[in-house]
Amino acid sequence: MFLQQIINGLTVGGVYALIALGYTMVYGILELINFAHGEIYMIGAYLGIIFLGIFTTAGLTQYSLPLSLFLTVVLSVLFCSAYGFTVEKLAYKPLRNAPRLNPLISAIGVSIFLQNYVMLTQGATDKVFPHVLPVTTIEFSGITMTSLQIIIIVVSLLLMAGLHLFIMKTRTGKAMRAVAQDKVMASLLGIDIDRIISVTFIIGSGLAAVAGLMVAMYYGLVNYSIGYIAGIKAFTAAVLGGIGSVPGAMIGGFVLGLIESLGAGYLSSEYKDAYAFIVLILILMVKPTGLLGKSEGHKP
C-alpha cells in the first residue's frame, strides 16, 4: 500500500513538477504569476488528441506507432511553445512597466480566454485520448505499476535533468539566470532581455505540453477545464519549493504528488484535491519562501 502510493505520487508529482517549472521560471524572471500557464498544459493535452487523431486517420499510427508518437510530441511541444510565446508578446510585454497587478489581471484574462477558446472549438464534453499505446502492467510483491507510469516518471526526470544542464551550462541558460538576478545589468552586458523572456516562455510551455500529453494518456480523458486544477496544483508545487527556484519546483512537484497520493491512500481520497490547498495554506503560514526559496528582502 505504502509503496503503491509512492509510485502513484511520483507519477503525478513528475507532472506537477514539469508544469511548476514554467511557473517558477517565469516568476524568476518577471515576478509574474502566469495564471495562463495551466491552460497551455491543457492545450498540450488537446493537441495530443488532435495530432494522434490525424495520424490515425492518415494511417501513420498503424504504419509506425513510435514515429507517430514522436511526431505528436514534437508538434504539440512546438504548438504550445508558440502559444506561450504569443501570450507573452500580446498580454504581458506591453505591460512590462505597468504596476505589478496589471499583468496579473492580464494573465487571468488570458486564462479565461484560452479556456473558452478551447471549449468553443473542441466542445464542452470530455474527449477520449486514443488508445494507441499498449499498456502493460508490471506486478511485484503486491504493487502494480503500469508502463505508462514508468514512462511518465522517466520522461519527467530526463526533462528536468536536461533543463538543469541547459540552465547551468549553456550561454542562454546562464543569461536566463543573469536576467533573473538583475535585468538592467544583464542588458548593460549586451543580453537581449526580450529574447531571454521569450526563451523562458517557450521552454516553460514546451514542458507543460509534454505534461499535458502524458496526463492525457494516463487518465485517458481530457476536458477544457483540466488546466485550472492542474495549474493551481503546480503553482502550489512551485510555492512549496520556493517560487523562482528551479530545483525547488522539481522537488515541490514530487513532494506535492506524494502528499496527495499518501493522503488519498491513508486519509481519504475524497479530499484528494484539497490536500494541495491545505499544503499551500500551511506553507504560506509557516514558511512563505518555500523549501528552497530565497527571502525577497533585497528586491526593489
Partner: protein, 262 residues
Amino acid sequence: MLKLENIHTSYGHIEAVRGTNLEIRKGEIVSLIGSNGAGKSTTLMTISGILRPVKGKVIFEGREIQGLSPHKIVSMGVSQVPEGRRIFPKLTVRENLEMGAYLKGKGQRAKGKGSGVKGQEARGKGEDTSRGDSRIALAEQLDHIFNLFPVLKERQKQLGGTLSGGEQQMLAIGRALMSGPELLLLDEPSLGLAPIIVIKIFKTIRELNAGGLTILLVEQNAKAALRLAHRGYVIESGRVTREGIGKELLDDPAIKRAYLGE
C-alpha cells in the same frame, strides 16, 4: 567618438538631466564630476540606452544611438560599469565574466576597429562566425582579464556575491571589458573602497587607457579623477556648468571649494 547634444532625461515628471552637452574624443579619459543627485548616473544610463532621453542626441562614431536598445549599444562597443557594481551574486566569478562576453558567443560582432582591450586580435576573432573561434576568443579574453586582476582567477569558481567590495569592483570592470569595448563608462568605481584598492583601480584605468581604450569616468572623488583625466566636466543639477582640461579644473578656486573640500 561620443557626443551628447542637449540631452534631457526624466524620471516621470522629474527632469534629472536637462540639456547636457558633452564630448569624448578617441583615446581620452574624460571625468564627469558633480555632487549627489547631479545627474551623473542618469547621463551614463542614457548613453547606454537604459534610459531614453526626452530630447537631444547621443552620437557614437557618427551614428545617433539614442533610442537604440542597450544590447545594440553594447554591440557597437560601448560598455558600462554601473554604480554599485551590480555583480550577479548567484553566478560564479567566471560566469559573471562570461556574461560580459555574451555577445561574442553569438559568433558575430558589430564591426569596429581596435580597442584598448587586446583590441585587434580579440575583436578580429569575435567577428568570425564559427563557434570554435568564439570559444578561443573567450578563453583569450578571460586570460587577459585574469592577467589584469589575478585575484579573479583564484576566485573564479566562487559566487560573485561572496567577493569583497574591492574584488567586486575588479570583477565589474573585468566583466565590462570582456565585450572588448572601445568606450568604457565607469560610474564611481572608487565608491566605498579602501584607499589602497582605489589606487589600484585608478592605476588600472590609466593602463587601460594607455592600451587605447577611451574612458568616461564618473567620480565623487574629484581630485583623483581630475588628475587622471585629460579633460573634465562638472555637472550641477542636470546641467554641465564647467568643462576644461583636468589640471585647469583642479586649480579652479570655485571647484576647489565645491568639490575638493579646500
